[in-house]
Amino acid sequence: MTTPDPTCVRVAAVGDVHVGTTPVHLGLADVALHADLLLLAGDLTRHGTREEAAVLAGELDGLGLPVVAVLGNHDHQTDAAADVVDELVSAGVTVLEQSTCELQIGSTTIGVAGTKGFGGGTAGATATEFGEPEMKAFVRHGAEVAAGLDTALSGLRTEIRLVVLHYSPVADTLAGEPLQIHPFLGDYRLAEAVDRHGADLVVHGHAHAGRERGRTPGGVPVRNVARPVIRSPYRVFELPAPRTATATA
């Protein structure tokens, strides 16, 4: 364990832990020694059942630091997302969906905006809201989710602003995934919302074969913390604090 830098807030993050119904060892027991806050970037379960979420909740309960999560597509598989949320909340986890939470760590205020996000494509290669109702519904849903993130971010006035997603906002962190499936891995409109309001860091998961580091067009650091990418229980980021939040776009 390293000595914490008092001028920094330490943020741990991981996604795509895909917990099933059998007991797991996620390696999170010591996270409070290394971080002040833990972000979970979706696909927390394999099929999105209450039973799986209960196993996960057992792993998260009592970690000794705030835990903020979004769900992923796997967490919706059995149409029981509300049950998953219930289990997580019972373990003290804050679950975001087009919403925010604010925390104070030391003397620093931290805001987290979160959404699962959705597909749609990366800038220059997007699906468009044209044609069949099903196609329009797909594209429209992504737009609505991005708009929800935009609204959520617009209300944050904290010194540090974090964004947690499941789907990727940029192509950078999808590199390594087949190009054919990029439209199902992320949506540039999420990055557009981030750049419009500014953030210090965006974390996401979903792209198991993607790359770890990227950046929005406006310059906000983006990190793919899918566990198959980081290949460790979590990644830790140090953010200088306090500082005045400024838009980077």
Partner: protein
């Protein structure tokens, strides 16, 4: 005329049907590829754990009875944690 009255499903279609079934059954991991060549089904890509690897292979064996399943899967080994990254 071609494309009709074939006694066996073309390899490409069978491969995609296996891949789709893996997804539906929850063993899907983004990045897994399935290819079929005659009597062989090759599964490649990365999975999270050895248990997941075994599960995927068992699924494929059930989905392609009578064919040999070739295992080109790899699970992601854990690596030592990196030091914290300073976000400037």
């Amino acid at each position: 005329m071609t494309g009709r009255n074939t006694s066996e499903e073309p390899d490409e279609y069978l491969a995609e049907h296996i891949r789709s079934a893996l997804a539906r059954e929850g063993a899907h991991q983004l990045g897994i590829t399935v290819s079929v060549h005659g009597s062989e089904v090759r599964v490649a890509g990365a999975v999270d754990t050895p248990e997941c690897r075994a599960e995927v292979l068992a699924h494929v064996a059930r989905l392609a009875p009578g064919r040999e399943v070739l295992d080109d899967l790899d699970h992601h080994p854990e690596v030592p944690p990196e030091p914290p990254e300073r976000i400037a």
